[in-house]
């Protein structure tokens, strides 16, 4: 079984170079390029042997070092020697890198919030009201996406169309049917349902008809098997029961 050991010893090629420069106690402006290049390549071999993932960045730096080394060994035959030390190619980025390491150290030494200095914290119910104080443009993509999602969740004004389902009770429906029969006289069963808009309303109408029959207020008949059912009010306008 293979044991893979992954160590992040050097952050990157510049880190490794700096380490070598410090280890050899050499001047960054006068890097012994042959020595450093050899040691650099040794480290890369060592990293490979230790199963440390060698990023491409390390190899690019290796080729840069070898290129500089060869440039310094060979005389410039073109006659266009501008006198610039080929090592500037690594000295400049190294200097910049060192400068930012230094600046990072300076940042770290400041009086950091929640490490060195502390502020008062509001209870959460007041915090939401404080959010408005943030500068208006100081948001990131994720915050914007959250805000957009909230609008979608809340629903867009002007585009909303909420349908309230009509709720009928049997009592209400019986009254409607009586009114209809009073006005229109004997009526076919089908007509009672012509205004119904939902299945539940149809059911309520049907129950209302049964209720009316049960109470003896409506007479229901079917002249022939094929014809529609006929409804006739069995009370007069005063609510008196009609005979027959």
């Amino acid at each position: 079984m293979d044991y893979e050991v992954k160590l992040e010893i050097f952050e990157g090629p510049l880190d490794l170079l700096l380490h070598l420069i410090h280890k050899n106690e050499v001047d960054i402006f006068d890097i012994p390029i042959a020595t450093i290049t050899d040691q650099y390549l040794e480290y890369i071999d060592m990293m490979k042997a230790l199963n440390i993932e060698v990023a491409g960045d390390f190899l690019i730096m290796a080729s840069t070092l070898i290129h500089i080394k060869s440039k310094m060994l060979l005389p410039d035959l073109t006659g266009q020697d501008d006198g610039e030390d080929p090592r500037i190619e690594i000295t400049r980025p190294l200097l910049e890198y060192m400068r930012f390491k230094e600046l990072a150290g300076e940042l770290e030494e400041r009086e950091l919030l929640d490490r060195d200095v502390f502020v008062r914290h509001l209870p959460s119910y007041l915090q939401s009201q404080m959010e408005d104080w943030e500068p208006r443009l100081d948001v990131n993509l994720f915050q914007l996406m959250d805000a957009f999602k909230r609008i979608i969740d809340e629903g867009l004004p002007g585009v909303q169309l909420t349908l309230q389902p009509e709720r009928w009770s049997v009592t209400e429906k019986t009254e409607v049917i009586i009114d209809l029969l009073k006005e229109a006289g004997p009526t076919f069963f089908q007509r009672l349902f012509s205004e119904d808009r939902s299945l539940s309303e149809v059911v309520v109408t049907f129950l209302a008809v049964l209720e009316l029959v049960h109470l003896g207020l409506v007479k229901v008949s079917q002249p022939t098997h094929e014809s529609d059912i006929h409804l006739v009010l069995s009370i007069d306008e005063n609510g008196e029961k009609l005979d027959g």
């Binding site: 952050e11 990157g12 090629p13 510049l14 880190d15 402006f29 006068d30 012994p32 042959a34 990023a55 960045d57 730096m61 310094m72 060994l73 060979l74 005389p75 006198g83 030390d85 090592r87 500037i88 000295t91 400049r92 980025p93 200097l95 910049e96 890198y97 400068r99 930012f100 390491k101 600046l103 990072a104 150290g105 300076e106 940042l107 770290e108 400041r110 009086e111 950091l112 919030l113 929640d114 490490r115 060195d116 200095v117 502390f118 502020v119 008062r120 914290h121 509001l122 915090q127 404080m130 104080w133 943030e134 500068p135 100081d138 948001v139 990131n140 993509l141």
Partner: protein, 197 residues
């Protein structure tokens, strides 16, 4: 006790969680002038400094905020039962590059650090220390990064201009280069040595 402007502002600062600046205070005290508010803020700061208490009115993130003095941090951390969270060295270096060279492209950060910074940028974004400030009109429309107000708050920076600017850093680097000894002799030595062998 009369409700002087100083006391009103003091009360606002005492209750606020965020640093407050004169403009914000002015939006709640429309009857007062900006100049008077600035004057009062300055007076309060001086007063708290001279009192020498365990906290002071600090100028941070373009505003004023009451903050404890660093020497009391150990006791406060003990009370909260926490140890401060630290950024990794790599994250600190990346943050320093962004802070001092913003607005900056990712590829420029990577050139300066010599390694991929994708993961670190994500961490810094999640911590609210950096943000995307725009896109450069270059092929691929690369993202431009900068620091946030939160960065100023966390790192006790008065405003972003109080950090040395990009140009100053460039000058520093080039000064060092100019003072560097010329190294042509070594170049020749190396050549002579190899030609002998």
């Amino acid at each position: 006790m009369a409700e002087s402007l100083e006391f009103i502002i003091e009360a606002l600062l005492f209750t606020s969680e965020k640093p407050l600046n004169a403009h914000e205070i002015n939006s709640w005290l429309s009857g007062e002038t900006l100049a008077d508010i600035r004057q009062a803020l300055g007076n309060l700061k001086t007063q708290y400094d001279s009192m020498g208490r365990s906290f002071a009115l600090k100028e941070v993130a373009q505003g004023y905020q009451f903050r404890t003095r660093p020497e009391y941090a150990p006791y406060i951390l003990k009370m909260f039962k926490t140890s401060p969270t630290r950024l990794s060295r790599a994250a600190m270096e990346t943050l320093a590059i962004i802070a001092y060279k913003q607005p900056i492209l990712r590829q420029e950060i990577e050139r300066l650090r010599g390694v991929d910074v994708g993961g670190i940028l994500k961490t810094l974004m999640e911590k609210g220390l950096i943000r995307i400030v725009g896109r450069k009109s270059l092929p691929g429309r690369p993202l431009i990064y900068g620091t946030t107000t939160r960065f100023l708050e966390v790192f006790d920076v008065k405003d972003i201009d109080s950090l040395p600017r990009m140009k100053e850093i460039k000058d520093m680097v080039s000064d060092e280069e100019q003072t560097a000894p010329k190294t042509e002799e070594h170049q020749l030595d190396a050549f002579e040595q190899t030609s002998e062998t």
